[in-house]
Subunit: 454 residues, 2 copies
């Protein structure tokens, strides 16, 4: 049995394995979410809405057609938390694993650390890697639960209630699941900056990418005799962290700028700042919100849409085109305009294949999202264009923010959003290989001929 | 004086020359449009609106904040036609010239034909090329005027009126200027399929690209003894023509599909077909319309927006990212998904630099258009999102279709639209070199390092 599985997996491409994992997870999740006792008494959920909830939880998006706290029992909460763990951590582990395996190494140190043998398809390496990722994420979740739990004692009358809320909030934030059992996302904590700060940190630890966490752990727990040598972070870690931070700061500033005469009118500076900061941070992939985002004005909603489209770091619990893809696009356009085709950054050069891939992924993502918007403008005529654009970007970025229209979607609309959550979560690299099918290697060449471009 | 100019032009980059030509043309156009007798008696046009009209005519876009027929005299009409000629033909000639000069040859035959010496900066070659382009375009315009003029005798009481209308219509269609002196674009001819058919042919001849016209001329007027050898069209001509035709057919079908239960409800098949056919064809860059496009539904408007964004062929009178850029994007994504980085098409291989350029241009164009939409959603709050998107794509594609909001734009809105018409017309290749400034050639290299993409 074990050997059968080993031999099956050996014959599959990474994209196939990740997709299979995703589909199996959704199927099991649907079954779990139909178990007796999962729903509150007298609550009926249509089958497509169960599937939608399962897809949303496995892809850790957080868009929902039902209100979790009014639909599911405490047992249901635990089922949902379990699904978010499998969706968030599982796909992150598989993605990192294949990336290592295909020889695109993070750096010798990290590889040694997670003990994946480059030259053989080591399932023991996979097991080891999954263990490492689960360990790091679960430790983060437990710390988050403890910090939030004690703090929540001032909101909830019993320890059980406070720690249940804290556990769900911590898991939802760390896996970037974006679901809530408060019934109104983070709005009850809109005035509690401590909770918001902890939540943003948890979201960031989930969305910054596993390789970054590994290197951070290495950096923080270095042995004494290593302290003399300056620690060398990988290019990936530098690039993704700076992009992540840049987007957070840019988003915060632009939201303040666009809303200080609108939504923030009459608010204190710290209220405005925290609203902007949290809503900027959550677009990376978190999906929790301290306000009803539909109260923002059009320009803010457009900027947030594009930030969700960019999404989180690769090998993380997030979606979208990914931070590195975005960074490479910007860097390359800048260099290309100056007549330079090599990108030099942090005393390293980027690989041409990676640049090409980032450009292709961005354009393909735009085509997919644009097509989705067009189709939904046919099937969901009752919605405004900005509501559709926001929802599509949110699903593709597996962010889970919404202008409040998810429950009103037509069945075709729901299916499109589910497909987008799937594509956004597994990432367009994997998606490309699925739609591309078998590689066609050809050995012949035709004469090259130049053509005029734009 | 002539030598001064020769030596000045030798020290300039193509982008600088084209931009200089554009700016000089706009400046002269503004002066011409302020001449006495240009306006109808008692008509006052604000300065920014004159600039807008000049930019619109030089970039052969056709968006207007004034109604031409209610604002300008017959003398004014001739001034506007002259400006469209200089904007349409001039930039087309310069673009083709530099493309030839930089060694990206169309093919030996074409080069020999237009007698541009590859190895020296031959101004005589430029003069020759401009003459050739002017000759072809003017012949097309004259034939168009004659065909339309005799036909228009059934609409207009005098020969003068009929042939003035025909001349303006022919010049506006061939240069893709998109302006009209009927007061309502092509709506008066909504039932006249003959006029529409001729107009689409004129638009296409202008927008298909000058190299295609040259090859077509060669093909049609071959000497007898050449007839034994099959004529070999260049890859550029094949690719751009097929893309052009493909977009026309796709656009027609999709408009019929999206509107047969809406705008086309109750219409005969040929009415529906011609509305769809003309409006599909005009998105390439023509800008004339046989109907008020704002009567279309949201999905149709979105599809037309993206078709205008794609725009016309390079080295033509049109704008946008260009047909070849779009074709290369689609071809490359398709090949990339199959693990293949060489694009083979028509027994030729495309150059990697061209592919890279097409990807960069597409992404940059999306960033520019998206930023414009965001800014206009701040400055022109009174407009709907789709109206802004449609207007932005129309300006960037130098198409000139509008949902009827151009006259309502704020001053900042007008400036953004003017900038987009400029960028769309000169093309992003030129624009890239302008913003990029001096090339930085470096001889050192850093170690390459892979990073994780999406
Ligand atoms: K999420
Ligand atoms: K036009």
């Amino acid at each position: 049995m074990w050997n059968d599985w080993k031999s099956w997996i050996k014959r599959r491409s990474p994209a196939q394995v990740i997709t299979a994992y995703y589909i199996v997870s959704v199927t099991i999740s649907v079954m779990l979410l139909r178990l007796p006792g999962v729903h509150l008494p007298n609550v009926e959920v249509p089958f497509i809405d169960t599937v939608f909830t399962a897809v949303s939880a496995v892809s850790v998006t957080g868009l929902t057609v039902v209100n979790i706290s009014e639909t599911y029992s405490v047992f249901g909460y635990f089922v949902i938390m379990l699904i978010m763990q499998f969706g968030g951590i599982g796909i992150m582990a598989l993605g990192t694993f294949f990336w290592l395996l295909l020889g695109k190494k993070i750096g010798l140190r990290s590889r040694r650390l997670i003990m994946v043998d480059h030259n053989q398809y080591a399932l023991s390496g996979l097991v080891q890697l999954v263990k490492e990722i689960v360990k790091i994420i679960v430790v983060i979740e437990i710390i988050g639960t403890l910090i939030l739990g004690f703090h929540f004692l001032k909101y909830y009358s019993t320890w059980e209630e406070a720690f249940l809320q804290a556990l769900f909030a911590s898991v939802s934030a760390t896996t970037n699941g974006g679901l809530d059992i408060t019934g109104a996302s983070m709005i009850p904590y809109a005035g509690d900056y401590f909770v918001q700060f902890i939540t943003i940190i948890l979201i960031t630890l989930g969305a910054i990418g596993f390789p970054v966490l590994i290197e951070l752990k290495e950096f923080l727990f270095r042995r004494k005799w290593d302290l003399d040598v300056p620690y060398q972070f990988t290019l990936f870690t530098k690039l993704t962290t700076i992009t992540y931070a840049g987007l957070l700061v840019f988003g915060t500033l632009i939201i303040i700028l666009l809303e200080f005469q609108h939504f923030f009118r009459g608010m204190s500076w710290h209220e405005s700042f925290f609203y902007a900061f949290f809503q900027s941070g959550t677009t990376r992939s978190g999906g929790l919100a301290t306000m009803d985002v539909s109260e923002f004005t059009m320009p803010t909603l457009l900027v947030m849409s594009i930030m969700m489209f960019i999404g989180a770091s690769p090998s993380s619990v997030g979606g979208g085109i990914r931070t590195t893809t975005f960074a490479l696009n910007i860097l390359f356009i800048w260099h290309f305009a100056r007549g330079n085709k090599d990108i030099k950054v942090f005393r390293r050069e980027l690989h041409h294949d990676d640049i090409l891939k980032s450009l292709v992924i961005t354009i393909l993502a735009m085509i997919i999202c644009f097509t989705s918007v067009v189709i939904m403008s046919i099937t969901d005529k009752h919605l405004q264009l900005i509501e559709i654009i926001f929802e599509v970007c949110s699903a593709f970025g597996t962010t889970g923010l919404s202008m409040g229209i998810t429950a009103e979607l037509s069945n075709i609309g729901k299916i499109i959003i589910m497909v987008l959550m799937f594509v956004g979560r597994i990432g367009l690299t994997s998606f490309l290989y699925i739609i591309g099918g078998k590689t066609e290697k050809t050995n012949y060449h035709y004469p090259k001929e130049r053509i005029i471009i734009g």
